[in-house]
Protein backbone atom coordinates (compact mmCIF):
# COMPACT_ATOMS: atom_id res chain seq x y z
CA UNK A 1 0.00 0.00 0.00
CA UNK A 2 3.01 2.25 -0.40
CA UNK A 3 1.38 3.97 -3.33
CA UNK A 4 -1.64 5.02 -1.29
CA UNK A 5 0.67 6.48 1.32
CA UNK A 6 2.69 8.37 -1.21
CA UNK A 7 -0.35 9.74 -2.98
CA UNK A 8 -1.92 10.76 0.32
CA UNK A 9 1.15 12.83 0.96
CA UNK A 10 1.35 14.74 -2.26
CA UNK A 11 -0.24 17.28 0.05
CA UNK A 12 3.15 18.83 0.46
CA UNK A 13 4.96 16.80 3.06
CA UNK A 14 7.51 14.23 1.95
CA UNK A 15 7.92 11.60 4.67
CA UNK A 16 9.67 9.15 2.35
CA UNK A 17 12.33 11.60 1.18
CA UNK A 18 11.45 11.24 -2.46
CA UNK A 19 12.05 14.86 -3.42
CA UNK A 20 15.19 16.94 -3.22
CA UNK A 21 15.67 18.49 0.22
CA UNK A 22 14.62 22.11 0.51
CA UNK A 23 17.25 24.84 0.44
CA UNK A 24 17.70 26.79 3.62
CA UNK A 25 20.00 29.66 4.47
CA UNK A 26 21.38 27.89 7.51
CA UNK A 27 21.23 31.01 9.68
CA UNK A 28 19.79 31.17 13.19
CA UNK A 29 16.56 32.60 11.79
CA UNK A 30 16.37 30.14 8.88
CA UNK A 31 18.06 26.93 9.99
CA UNK A 32 18.26 23.78 7.89
CA UNK A 33 15.19 21.75 8.82
CA UNK A 34 16.19 18.11 9.14
CA UNK A 35 13.25 15.66 9.21
CA UNK A 36 13.65 12.60 11.42
CA UNK A 37 11.61 9.63 12.55
CA UNK A 38 13.51 9.32 15.84
CA UNK A 39 14.89 11.96 18.18
CA UNK A 40 18.29 12.20 16.49
CA UNK A 41 19.74 11.94 13.00
CA UNK A 42 23.23 12.04 11.51
CA UNK A 43 23.92 15.16 9.45
CA UNK A 44 26.73 15.47 6.92
CA UNK A 45 27.59 19.08 6.17
CA UNK A 46 29.45 19.95 2.97
CA UNK A 47 30.43 23.39 4.17
CA UNK A 48 31.59 24.77 0.87
CA UNK A 49 30.60 23.46 -2.51
CA UNK A 50 32.97 20.75 -3.84
CA UNK A 51 34.48 20.14 -0.36
CA UNK A 52 35.66 16.55 -0.25
CA UNK A 53 35.75 16.35 3.55
CA UNK A 54 32.19 15.98 4.85
CA UNK A 55 31.59 17.06 8.45
CA UNK A 56 29.45 14.42 10.19
CA UNK A 57 27.65 14.95 13.48
CA UNK A 58 24.58 13.78 15.38
CA UNK A 59 21.74 16.28 15.41
CA UNK A 60 19.60 15.94 18.53
CA UNK A 61 16.06 17.07 19.18
CA UNK A 62 15.63 20.47 20.73
CA UNK A 63 17.60 23.63 20.10
CA UNK A 64 19.26 24.11 16.73
CA UNK A 65 22.89 22.92 16.58
CA UNK A 66 25.69 24.42 14.52
CA UNK A 67 28.11 22.65 12.21
CA UNK A 68 31.47 22.44 14.00
CA UNK A 69 33.22 23.57 10.85
CA UNK A 70 31.19 26.24 9.08
CA UNK A 71 28.63 27.11 11.72
CA UNK A 72 25.42 26.59 9.72
CA UNK A 73 22.38 26.00 11.89
CA UNK A 74 20.49 22.70 11.78
CA UNK A 75 17.22 21.92 13.55
CA UNK A 76 15.68 18.47 13.95
CA UNK A 77 12.05 18.18 12.90
CA UNK A 78 10.63 14.94 14.24
CA UNK A 79 7.62 13.49 12.44
CA UNK A 80 5.60 10.30 12.47
CA UNK A 81 5.73 7.87 9.57
CA UNK A 82 2.28 7.36 8.07
CA UNK A 83 0.97 3.84 8.64
Amino acid sequence: MEKKIIHALKTGSDPFSMLRPKEYAGTKQDPHMVPSITDKRIVGCICEEDNTAVVWFWLHQGEAQRCPSCGSHYKLVPHELPH
Binding site: E2, K3, I6, S17, M18, I37, E80, L81, H83
Partner: protein, 261 residues
Amino acid sequence: MARQAHAYHMVDPSPWPLTGAVAALLMTSGLAVWFHFNSTVLMTMGLALLLLTMYQWWRDIIREGTFQGHHTPPVQKGLRYGMILFITSEVFFFLGFFWAFYHSSLAPTPELGGCWPPTGIIPLDPFEVPLLNTAVLLASGVTVTWAHHSIMERERKQTIQALTLTILLGFYFTALQAMEYYEAPFTIADGVYGSTFFVATGFHGLHVIIGSTFLAVCLLRQIQYHFTSEHHFGFEAAAWYWHFVDVVWLFLYVSIYWWGS
Protein backbone atom coordinates in the same frame (compact mmCIF):
# COMPACT_ATOMS: atom_id res chain seq x y z
CA MET B 1 7.62 2.12 14.14
CA ALA B 2 6.69 -0.70 11.83
CA ARG B 3 7.46 0.72 8.38
CA GLN B 4 10.43 1.90 6.33
CA ALA B 5 11.18 5.61 5.93
CA HIS B 6 12.06 5.34 2.23
CA ALA B 7 10.05 4.64 -0.89
CA TYR B 8 12.12 1.75 -2.22
CA HIS B 9 11.11 -1.89 -2.33
CA MET B 10 13.14 -4.32 -0.22
CA VAL B 11 12.19 -7.57 -1.90
CA ASP B 12 11.44 -10.70 0.08
CA PRO B 13 13.72 -13.71 -0.43
CA SER B 14 12.75 -15.66 -3.53
CA PRO B 15 13.75 -19.04 -4.98
CA TRP B 16 13.27 -18.04 -8.61
CA PRO B 17 16.78 -16.68 -9.31
CA LEU B 18 18.14 -20.04 -8.15
CA THR B 19 15.68 -22.08 -10.21
CA GLY B 20 16.45 -19.86 -13.18
CA ALA B 21 20.17 -20.49 -12.80
CA VAL B 22 19.57 -24.23 -12.47
CA ALA B 23 17.40 -24.10 -15.59
CA ALA B 24 20.21 -22.38 -17.49
CA LEU B 25 22.64 -25.07 -16.34
CA LEU B 26 20.28 -27.90 -17.36
CA MET B 27 19.55 -26.34 -20.75
CA THR B 28 23.19 -25.78 -21.67
CA SER B 29 24.47 -29.11 -20.46
CA GLY B 30 21.35 -30.70 -21.91
CA LEU B 31 22.23 -29.19 -25.27
CA ALA B 32 25.67 -30.81 -25.09
CA VAL B 33 24.11 -34.14 -24.05
CA TRP B 34 21.74 -33.93 -26.98
CA PHE B 35 24.59 -33.34 -29.40
CA HIS B 36 26.75 -36.17 -28.09
CA PHE B 37 24.44 -38.76 -26.55
CA ASN B 38 21.22 -38.32 -28.53
CA SER B 39 19.01 -37.63 -25.49
CA THR B 40 16.82 -34.57 -24.98
CA VAL B 41 15.73 -35.39 -21.41
CA LEU B 42 18.07 -32.98 -19.64
CA MET B 43 17.39 -30.14 -22.03
CA THR B 44 13.63 -30.63 -21.78
CA MET B 45 13.81 -30.60 -17.99
CA GLY B 46 15.79 -27.36 -18.20
CA LEU B 47 13.24 -25.83 -20.53
CA ALA B 48 10.36 -26.83 -18.26
CA LEU B 49 12.14 -25.35 -15.26
CA LEU B 50 12.81 -22.16 -17.23
CA LEU B 51 9.14 -21.75 -18.13
CA LEU B 52 8.07 -22.38 -14.54
CA THR B 53 10.65 -19.88 -13.28
CA MET B 54 9.52 -17.18 -15.69
CA TYR B 55 5.86 -17.71 -14.87
CA GLN B 56 6.34 -17.63 -11.10
CA TRP B 57 8.89 -14.82 -11.00
CA TRP B 58 6.81 -12.47 -13.11
CA ARG B 59 3.64 -13.53 -11.28
CA ASP B 60 5.36 -12.50 -8.03
CA ILE B 61 6.35 -9.14 -9.51
CA ILE B 62 2.74 -8.52 -10.51
CA ARG B 63 1.64 -9.45 -7.01
CA GLU B 64 4.21 -7.09 -5.45
CA GLY B 65 3.43 -4.19 -7.76
CA THR B 66 -0.23 -4.32 -8.66
CA PHE B 67 -1.68 -6.01 -5.59
CA GLN B 68 0.65 -4.93 -2.78
CA GLY B 69 1.51 -1.46 -4.05
CA HIS B 70 5.29 -1.72 -3.79
CA HIS B 71 5.95 -0.07 -7.16
CA THR B 72 6.30 3.51 -5.95
CA PRO B 73 7.57 6.21 -8.35
CA PRO B 74 11.27 5.62 -7.56
CA VAL B 75 10.77 1.86 -7.95
CA GLN B 76 9.02 2.37 -11.26
CA LYS B 77 11.85 4.60 -12.42
CA GLY B 78 14.28 1.78 -11.68
CA LEU B 79 12.14 -0.64 -13.66
CA ARG B 80 12.14 1.79 -16.58
CA TYR B 81 15.92 2.04 -16.51
CA GLY B 82 16.08 -1.73 -16.37
CA MET B 83 13.87 -2.24 -19.40
CA ILE B 84 15.76 0.38 -21.39
CA LEU B 85 19.09 -1.22 -20.55
CA PHE B 86 17.75 -4.64 -21.46
CA ILE B 87 16.47 -3.45 -24.83
CA THR B 88 19.82 -1.73 -25.41
CA SER B 89 21.60 -5.02 -24.79
CA GLU B 90 19.30 -6.65 -27.33
CA VAL B 91 20.15 -3.91 -29.83
CA PHE B 92 23.81 -4.84 -29.47
CA PHE B 93 22.88 -8.49 -29.89
CA PHE B 94 21.33 -7.75 -33.27
CA LEU B 95 24.14 -5.38 -34.18
CA GLY B 96 26.45 -8.38 -34.15
CA PHE B 97 24.39 -10.18 -36.77
CA PHE B 98 24.15 -7.09 -38.90
CA TRP B 99 27.92 -6.78 -38.65
CA ALA B 100 28.25 -10.36 -39.88
CA PHE B 101 25.88 -9.69 -42.77
CA TYR B 102 27.65 -6.56 -43.91
CA HIS B 103 31.07 -8.15 -43.46
CA SER B 104 30.17 -10.90 -45.90
CA SER B 105 28.02 -8.92 -48.29
CA LEU B 106 30.06 -5.75 -48.83
CA ALA B 107 33.10 -7.66 -50.10
CA PRO B 108 31.84 -11.01 -51.39
CA THR B 109 34.61 -13.59 -51.69
CA PRO B 110 35.54 -15.39 -54.92
CA GLU B 111 33.97 -18.56 -53.54
CA LEU B 112 30.61 -16.80 -53.73
CA GLY B 113 31.29 -15.61 -57.26
CA GLY B 114 32.45 -12.17 -56.16
CA CYS B 115 28.87 -10.91 -56.08
CA TRP B 116 25.97 -10.50 -53.66
CA PRO B 117 23.62 -12.31 -53.64
CA PRO B 118 26.09 -15.14 -54.19
CA THR B 119 25.96 -17.16 -57.38
CA GLY B 120 23.12 -19.63 -57.35
CA ILE B 121 21.12 -17.92 -54.61
CA ILE B 122 17.62 -16.80 -55.57
CA PRO B 123 16.78 -14.10 -53.04
CA LEU B 124 13.19 -13.45 -51.97
CA ASP B 125 11.44 -10.59 -53.79
CA PRO B 126 11.48 -7.73 -51.29
CA PHE B 127 8.28 -6.31 -52.74
CA GLU B 128 6.18 -9.38 -52.11
CA VAL B 129 5.63 -10.99 -48.67
CA PRO B 130 8.50 -9.09 -46.98
CA LEU B 131 6.86 -5.79 -47.89
CA LEU B 132 3.54 -7.05 -46.54
CA ASN B 133 5.36 -8.02 -43.34
CA THR B 134 6.75 -4.52 -43.10
CA ALA B 135 3.26 -3.08 -43.41
CA VAL B 136 1.92 -5.52 -40.82
CA LEU B 137 4.54 -4.55 -38.25
CA LEU B 138 4.19 -0.84 -38.91
CA ALA B 139 0.43 -1.16 -38.48
CA SER B 140 0.95 -3.03 -35.23
CA GLY B 141 3.10 -0.12 -34.05
CA VAL B 142 0.16 2.16 -34.67
CA THR B 143 -2.31 -0.11 -32.87
CA VAL B 144 -0.08 -0.49 -29.82
CA THR B 145 0.17 3.31 -29.61
CA TRP B 146 -3.60 3.49 -29.92
CA ALA B 147 -3.84 1.02 -27.05
CA HIS B 148 -1.50 3.15 -24.93
CA HIS B 149 -3.52 6.30 -25.45
CA SER B 150 -6.70 4.37 -24.70
CA ILE B 151 -5.25 3.23 -21.38
CA MET B 152 -4.30 6.78 -20.47
CA GLU B 153 -7.72 8.05 -21.45
CA ARG B 154 -9.48 5.32 -19.45
CA GLU B 155 -11.11 3.81 -22.53
CA ARG B 156 -11.27 0.23 -21.41
CA LYS B 157 -13.03 -1.27 -24.42
CA GLN B 158 -10.78 0.51 -26.93
CA THR B 159 -7.69 -0.59 -25.04
CA ILE B 160 -8.76 -4.21 -25.28
CA GLN B 161 -9.61 -3.86 -28.95
CA ALA B 162 -6.34 -2.13 -29.86
CA LEU B 163 -4.22 -4.55 -27.86
CA THR B 164 -6.00 -7.56 -29.39
CA LEU B 165 -5.48 -6.14 -32.87
CA THR B 166 -1.77 -5.62 -32.15
CA ILE B 167 -1.40 -9.22 -31.03
CA LEU B 168 -3.29 -10.51 -34.08
CA LEU B 169 -1.00 -8.51 -36.36
CA GLY B 170 1.96 -10.02 -34.54
CA PHE B 171 0.60 -13.51 -35.15
CA TYR B 172 -0.07 -12.65 -38.78
CA PHE B 173 3.57 -11.59 -39.20
CA THR B 174 4.78 -14.81 -37.60
CA ALA B 175 2.51 -16.92 -39.79
CA LEU B 176 3.65 -15.11 -42.95
CA GLN B 177 7.30 -15.51 -41.99
CA ALA B 178 6.82 -19.18 -41.23
CA MET B 179 5.30 -19.66 -44.67
CA GLU B 180 8.19 -17.73 -46.24
CA TYR B 181 10.68 -19.92 -44.41
CA TYR B 182 8.93 -23.04 -45.65
CA GLU B 183 8.73 -21.85 -49.25
CA ALA B 184 12.16 -20.23 -49.51
CA PRO B 185 14.37 -21.50 -52.34
CA PHE B 186 17.45 -21.46 -50.09
CA THR B 187 18.24 -22.89 -46.65
CA ILE B 188 20.43 -22.01 -43.69
CA ALA B 189 23.04 -24.37 -45.09
CA ASP B 190 23.37 -22.38 -48.30
CA GLY B 191 26.65 -20.67 -47.58
CA VAL B 192 27.06 -17.39 -45.79
CA TYR B 193 23.92 -15.98 -47.44
CA GLY B 194 21.78 -18.66 -45.87
CA SER B 195 23.53 -18.34 -42.52
CA THR B 196 23.21 -14.58 -42.22
CA PHE B 197 19.66 -14.56 -43.57
CA PHE B 198 18.20 -17.23 -41.32
CA VAL B 199 20.13 -16.39 -38.15
CA ALA B 200 19.25 -12.68 -38.33
CA THR B 201 15.62 -13.13 -39.40
CA GLY B 202 15.26 -16.18 -37.18
CA PHE B 203 16.29 -14.36 -34.02
CA HIS B 204 14.05 -11.52 -35.07
CA GLY B 205 11.14 -13.92 -35.44
CA LEU B 206 11.86 -15.30 -31.99
CA HIS B 207 11.72 -11.77 -30.62
CA VAL B 208 8.39 -11.21 -32.38
CA ILE B 209 7.03 -14.29 -30.62
CA ILE B 210 8.41 -13.09 -27.28
CA GLY B 211 6.96 -9.63 -27.85
CA SER B 212 3.57 -11.04 -28.83
CA THR B 213 3.56 -13.15 -25.68
CA PHE B 214 4.40 -10.11 -23.56
CA LEU B 215 1.55 -8.17 -25.18
CA ALA B 216 -0.81 -11.11 -24.65
CA VAL B 217 0.02 -11.12 -20.94
CA CYS B 218 -0.71 -7.39 -20.90
CA LEU B 219 -4.05 -8.07 -22.55
CA LEU B 220 -4.97 -10.58 -19.86
CA ARG B 221 -3.92 -8.13 -17.16
CA GLN B 222 -5.88 -5.31 -18.79
CA ILE B 223 -8.98 -7.48 -18.88
CA GLN B 224 -8.49 -8.16 -15.18
CA TYR B 225 -8.23 -4.46 -14.33
CA HIS B 226 -4.54 -4.45 -13.37
CA PHE B 227 -3.68 -1.23 -15.21
CA THR B 228 -4.69 2.28 -14.20
CA SER B 229 -4.61 5.37 -16.37
CA GLU B 230 -1.57 6.62 -14.43
CA HIS B 231 0.28 3.41 -13.70
CA HIS B 232 0.68 0.77 -16.37
CA PHE B 233 4.38 0.24 -16.68
CA GLY B 234 4.06 -3.43 -17.65
CA PHE B 235 2.17 -2.32 -20.72
CA GLU B 236 4.69 0.43 -21.49
CA ALA B 237 7.55 -2.05 -21.26
CA ALA B 238 5.72 -4.37 -23.68
CA ALA B 239 5.08 -1.48 -26.05
CA TRP B 240 8.74 -0.40 -25.96
CA TYR B 241 9.82 -3.95 -26.69
CA TRP B 242 7.33 -4.16 -29.54
CA HIS B 243 8.61 -0.92 -31.10
CA PHE B 244 12.16 -2.27 -30.80
CA VAL B 245 11.11 -5.45 -32.63
CA ASP B 246 9.51 -3.30 -35.33
CA VAL B 247 12.64 -1.17 -35.76
CA VAL B 248 14.87 -4.25 -36.00
CA TRP B 249 12.60 -5.56 -38.75
CA LEU B 250 12.90 -2.28 -40.67
CA PHE B 251 16.69 -2.57 -40.58
CA LEU B 252 16.48 -6.23 -41.58
CA TYR B 253 14.16 -5.42 -44.44
CA VAL B 254 16.24 -2.58 -45.81
CA SER B 255 19.61 -4.37 -45.37
CA ILE B 256 19.02 -8.03 -46.06
CA TYR B 257 15.84 -8.15 -48.09
CA TRP B 258 16.13 -5.01 -50.15
CA TRP B 259 19.79 -3.95 -50.44
CA GLY B 260 20.91 -7.56 -50.26
CA SER B 261 18.84 -8.74 -53.21
